[in-house]
Symmetry: C2
Subunit: 114 residues, 2 copies
DNA sequence: CAGTATCCATGAAGATACTG
DNA sequence: CAGTATCTTCATGGATACTG
């Protein structure tokens, strides 16, 4: 598994961000967690169609990179909660801009004014 | 090639944005074009390591989806310029947020405060 | 419940050579 | 110059079954 220490960050901050969350599932995971702490199964439900394997892989790498926090509760059956770290929360304005632009784009499609 | 008409946009605006520009190369192409009109070779140089094939594929799909404009000049040798459309320009705040967060993240790495 | 272990299919990307 | 055409390689994702 890719370790944080071996992840060469690009000079450009935009490229850095693209590298860290620049893919479909990670973006949606952040979106989910901006609504608060979630359990594994809750995340899976919110991310329609994601497989266990893919979801757990993304969560793991995002935890390693410091974006999310994983809390295990010693209950039976086991309970695991995922939440954003402080730096993860700082992605909120970015996701908000994605939301805004997505709405603008969808509107522009309807008016044929792409 | 995926046609705009057959691209089902998700309900969620965030997912829509993720679908349209949620990958490494597209983000960097937008970043480049926010600095102004560029020729194919200029883009290739700015996007270190991208192959002709991959670059032209992304440009084509982004043009189809209305994000960028392609202008061909009937010169010899031919000159082609790429620029953002009006809706493409509206990605500027989003890229700005990516820039800001990328800087924050890189800083946090240095201070071990991830 | 929250994953892991496999296996398979798909496709995105890279290198190279060639063309209008 | 600005691509296209191929071919190969590799990573990612999906389905399913199983486990602490």
């Amino acid at each position: 598994m890719t370790d944080l220490k071996y992840l060469e960050l690009p000079q450009c901050p935009v490229a850095t961000t693209a590298l860290l969350i620049g893919d479909h599932w990670k973006i949606l995971i952040i979106r989910e967690l901006l609504n608060g702490t979630k359990r594994f199964s809750e995340l899976a439900k919110g991310l329609d169609g994601v497989s266990n394997k893919v979801l757990s892989q993304h969560l793991k790498i995002m935890e390693i990179r410091g974006l999310i926090h994983r809390e295990v509760y010693a209950e039976v059956p086991v309970k695991v909660e995922y939440s954003l770290t402080s730096i993860g929360w700082k992605l909120k304005p970015l996701i908000r801009e994605m939301w805004k632009w997505g709405e603008i784009y969808k509107e522009s499609i309807h008016t044929n004014d792409v």
